[in-house]
């Protein structure tokens, strides 16, 4: 989600803080694991055994999710899928609305993405603007055969004609709420919580 409105705020999202504010728990670590396992299987089914598939995690929390998906598929199915990371900061449409952002790391697997099926992986799908930026970024990197989208949580309120191909959990929300995703690799724990944001999300 790369900080479109929730998830990665400017302040570090420590686990203690998340619990302290008492958000409503939506997914625990077991549920996140099961959701990823299911998404992994759906990817296998729909892409003919993940032939020519590249997983690209969108910075920041999409990256560990993409890595977990790849690790799970390698472990259970023996399928090895190249994984990369995509930072979309330079393609955002809201750069002028905030102070300059630090760039994340972009890492495209050596095989490239030309002619491949790219599966973008992100934590939360909301307005769809992050995905729009990611599609623009992909266009400058190469020409994939197809692009698909996997998200852990789809919270609705799309502002662009974009839909996910794989969803961990559909979570109807109001715009006043914020979905907070914590992942062990970054935050030290796995959880998805629903919180009432201090200001209404844009």
């Amino acid at each position: 989600m790369a900080g479109m409105s929730e998830a990665a705020g400017p302040e570090p999202a420590g686990p203690a803080k998340g619990q302290g504010r008492g958000g409503k728990s939506v997914l625990g670590s077991d549920e996140i694991r099961r959701a990823l396992t299911r998404i992994g299987h759906e990817i296998l089914e729909r892409t003919d055994g993940a032939r020519d598939v590249v997983l690209l995690g969108i910075q920041t929390r999409g990256v560990p999710l993409a890595r977990r998906l790849a690790a799970r598929l390698a472990e259970t199915e023996g399928v090895h899928i190249p994984v990369g990371a995509l930072d979309i900061t330079l393609y955002r449409d809201d750069l002028r609305l905030r102070p300059t952002r630090t760039l994340g790391h972009t890492e495209i697997p050596d095989a490239g993405i030309d002619g491949m099926v790219v599966v973008l992986v992100d934590d939360v799908l909301y307005s769809g603007r992050t995905v729009r930026a990611a599609l623009d970024a992909l266009g400058d990197i190469g020409r994939p055969r197809a692009v698909q989208l996997a998200v852990l949580v789809d919270r609705g309120h799309r502002e662009l004609p974009i839909r996910p191909d794989y969803v961990g959990k559909n979570l109807p929300t109001s715009k006043r709420e914020a979905v907070k995703v914590l992942l062990t690799e970054i935050d030290g724990e796995d959880s998805v919580t629903l919180q009432v944001s201090r200001q209404a999300s844009r």
């Binding site: 930072d87 330079l90 393609y91 750069l95 002028r96 609305l97 905030r98 102070p99 300059t100 952002r101 630090t102 760039l103 994340g104 790391h105 972009t106 623009d136 266009g139 400058d140 990197i141 190469g142």
Partner: protein
Amino acid sequence: MNRHLISAADLSLDDAVAILDTAEELARLAQRPIPKLPTLRGRTVVNLFYEDSTRTRISFEAAAKRLSADVINFSAKGSSVAKGESLKDTALTLQAMGADAVVIRHGASGAPYRLAGWVRGSVINAGDGTHEHPTQALLDAFTMRRRLGRLAGLRVTIVGDILHSRVARSNVWLLRTLGARVTLVAPPTLLPVAVGGWPCSVSYDFSTVLPDSDVVMMLRVQRERMSDAYFPSVREYSRRYGLDGDRMALLADHAIVMHPGPMNRGVEIAAEVADSPRSTIVEQVTNGVSVRMAVLYLLLGGSREPGDAPPAAAGLAAAGSGVAGSGVAGSGVAGSGVAGSGETL
């Protein structure tokens, strides 16, 4: 980060590292089939060049264009400056045209600082007189970090015409911030009076410094800025302070040789050195574009907070002092501790 980039001395460690890290990401993007990014669409960058320059101007132009900014090139020759327009009036014209950033090179030390008070956009110093050239120092630091993997504790020797060199000034301040140790080597006549107040050491014996250097940066003898005789002959200068094959053999295996260009082959640097694998001269040019993209992105890529104050008073201060001291030539170093050393520069 500050709204302007006028002096390398203004950069905090965090600022400097942020620029280098951003440049690292941008350098990676330059490898892609389409290196262009949409980030600065609709922004206007004016290249305001009062002095001749090829590589710096082209480098800034390439950087701005890769980020999709509109670029307007303005050179003093053939413009209304030739008709007598002042810097301030030119600045107001640029302001009226809505420049988001002005990249300025000027023969007068402190010109970018003055300009920053007149325009609303960001001012980027691309070299002012004998004062500073911060993006050159940034690209030098970037090149060192890429080649040697670190900056902290690095021993950097800068050799040549320190007196007239804005590159040396910017490097001394930036490298100090980044934790490297700088030694200047030059004939006493080509050191500024205030050098005693700089955060670096000074040596007059090039060969003894070489074995302990990780980086040797050779500077051009700027004859166009020299009105007096600073050394007996070019040959003597070259023999004492030039880097030739024999001297290069004194360097440690990992050490690199840098030059900001343009080079005078056979004067400060021998052709065999300039073309050796130790030389980073071509890389420096490539890296220059990435570093300038990073600076443009960090200055222009976000929202503009209203009511920004003009830059801290660091920019101008000691500016011309190096030149002023030049008349006293030989005594330059002796008097150093006193002169302009207290200034921020």
